[in-house]
Amino acid sequence: MENNNAIQNGEPILQIQDLSVSFDTTRGQLHAIRGVNLTLHKGETVAIVGESGSGKSVTVKNVMGIGSSNQVINSGRILYTYMDGAQRKTVDLLKFSKKKMIQEINGKHIAMVFQDPMTALNPLFSIGYQLTEGMMLHKHMSKKEAWKRGTELLAEVGITDPELCMKRYPHQLSGGMRQRVVIAIAVSCDPDILICDEPTTALDVTIQAKILELIQYMQKQRNLSVIYITHDLGVVAKVADYVCVMYAGKIVERGTAYEIYFEARHPYTWGLLLSMPDLSTRDDRLYTIPGSPPNLLHQVRGDAFAVRNAYALEIDFEQEPPMFRISDTHEAASWLEHPDAPKVEMPEVLQRRIRLMKEKVQAGGEGRG
């Protein structure tokens, strides 16, 4: 085998196929994920957006093999392609045992940054200990080497005086610093995929921007493929190449960031975009999506979003919409895309807002000073 066998940018590295997961609860089966398809290409960033309970965290937890103990995987495959020496290997992560995941995949190939850096770090151990632990295990470094490498990593994530920080404990650092340490730990074993589960939700705006810039920098430096999970569409706009909108355990729309923000087709995506106040909003009320997400303990009939959807057609209550292809990269699961469906435009307010945004871009970007 030659080395040009290496995975090139743009080749699929992680493919989630028809993943369906339910939980055994005292009140019956809860269908948390109902057939998710997602492909992550090398060097790209995919963002999964959705409300709490839409199943975004459950999806990526299964990629890491850290699903909860009462979950049942009904169907699906998670194919992960990686280089084992010079050999290209594709494995189904769902077939791995928890122990094997921990030994071979987690940290080494797929790493995760969690929402709350205080709970992600162990308060009883020093930063240095937690940072070197993975490198000693996965990369068989000596303690001395790992310590040296750890200090370099801390400097790379922008911590001043990394030597001192190595000896500190999590409670001695601020929230932003802690998240930097968590990122340093995540990239310490040179993973291929970085999963960020709401990495900045617990942080302030200024720190948030810095952490996002740091993750972007790390991605460029190491050619990582990144999956973001978030409910903040502003964050998504900053980082994502592709966006998947998730609702009630399904991906309802996917496309490039441009397509989702400017040419969204699914009414749920419209609702999400509208409920976010943009800085030019002068309206009296914010738009809200009526109702609440469906209870997934019950079987969903038709489109799960139909009851909250002002544009619902009769068929939405009967039959689940398939993914309709809009462009090579853009798909939406809405019957409105069917050739026989009545033509529905996105809401006026949203159209106006998008027009304003586009004008602002043409006017030279930064309008505020």
Binding site: V205, G234, M276, P277, D278, L286, M357, R368
Partner: protein
């Protein structure tokens, strides 16, 4: 402008903490602002800027170190008499950030919401109590059957509505909302903010809205105060702050707001601001008036440079 237009007047409020004998933490160091009756005053700033401390000092969860707080013309910063304490705890209410942590998991919703009524004996019979609570639940968009449930049976947005009901039931004049939407999803945030706006219009409430999410603050507030390290660095109407920010800290805060526009957002660089290297000394600055509604904390020389 008549004096009683302002329901709250805070002057040179200082709140120091003494973690041990050698150290002093100046969480709030000389902050002054006024809040007009029926308006919303937004307090923004990063964590550690003292915004929550101000909220707590106003409602007297903390005892201010010095300074004056006039609430409805009455001084409430000093020692409180029993009557005065009862007056301010009734007329000022607080909504907290995390609706799970601020609702007692062992109590039913009805008992949580009625707690203020119980403490002040504001009902004559059990039936009246139930009725008051149920009508309040309906007022915040919850169904009256929820009264006998426990907090864990609700979603985050519903719990926050319970928190709002508990605050409103005392018929307060001022509500201090401390990061009350930060823990919620975007679409739920919009619902809660709309509810707050409706209640304000109905009941002529005054809000102190503490948050770090500037886009929501802009949406809900009439006046905004920007806090940093215990100092009010800039204060003005929301248009003053968003359209003509003067202080470099405000500018850096504004540049950090993520916008739902992938084209501009990708190329945007956040303006950094580091107090310790910027050469700005808050304690040297005085309040400079840029326009009648807009003030900035700076020295004369800085004012000439920034404005």
């Amino acid at each position: 402008m008549a004096e009683n237009d302002y329901i709250l007047q805070v002057k040179d409020l200082k709140q120091y903490f003494y973690p041990d004998r050698k150290h002093v933490v100046k969480a709030v160091d000389g902050v002054s602002f006024r809040v007009r009756r029926g308006s919303t005053f937004g307090l923004v700033g990063e964590s550690g800027s003292g915004k929550s401390t101000i909220g707590k000092a106003l409602i007297r969860l903390n005892d201010p170190t010095s300074g004056s707080i006039l609430f409805d013309g009455e001084e409430i910063a000093g020692k409180l008499t029993r009557d005065l304490r009862r007056h301010i705890t009734g007329k000022m209410q607080m909504i907290f950030q995390d609706p799970m942590a601020s609702l007692n998991p062992k109590k039913k919703i009805i008992d949580i919401v009625a707690e203020g009524l119980d403490a002040n004996h504001l009902y004559k019979s059990r039936e009246e109590r139930t009725e008051l609570v149920c009508s309040m639940l309906e007022c915040v968009g919850l169904s009256r059957e929820f009264a006998n449930r426990y907090p864990h049976m609700f979603s985050g947005g519903q719990r926050q509505r319970v928190g709002i009901a508990r605050a409103i039931i005392m018929n307060p004049e001022v509500i201090i909302a401390d990061e009350c939407i930060s823990a919620l999803d975007v679409s739920i945030q919009a619902q809660v903010v709309n509810l707050l706006k409706d209640l304000q219009a109905e009941r002529k409430l005054t809000y102190i809205f503490i948050a770090h999410d500037l886009s929501m603050v802009k949406y809900i507030s009439d006046y905004i105060g920007v806090l940093h390290l215990g100092h009010m660095v800039e204060m003005g109407t929301k248009d003053d702050i968003f359209d003509h920010p003067i202080h470099p800290y405000t500018r850096s805060l504004l540049s950090a707001i993520p916008e739902p526009n992938p084209i501009t957002e990708r190329s945007k660089k956040v303006q950094g601001y580091d107090y310790y290297t910027s050469g700005i000394d808050y304690s040297k600055g005085t309040q400079h008036t840029f326009s009648p509604t807009h003030t900035v904390l700076c020295t004369d020389e800085e004012f000439a440079r920034w404005a």
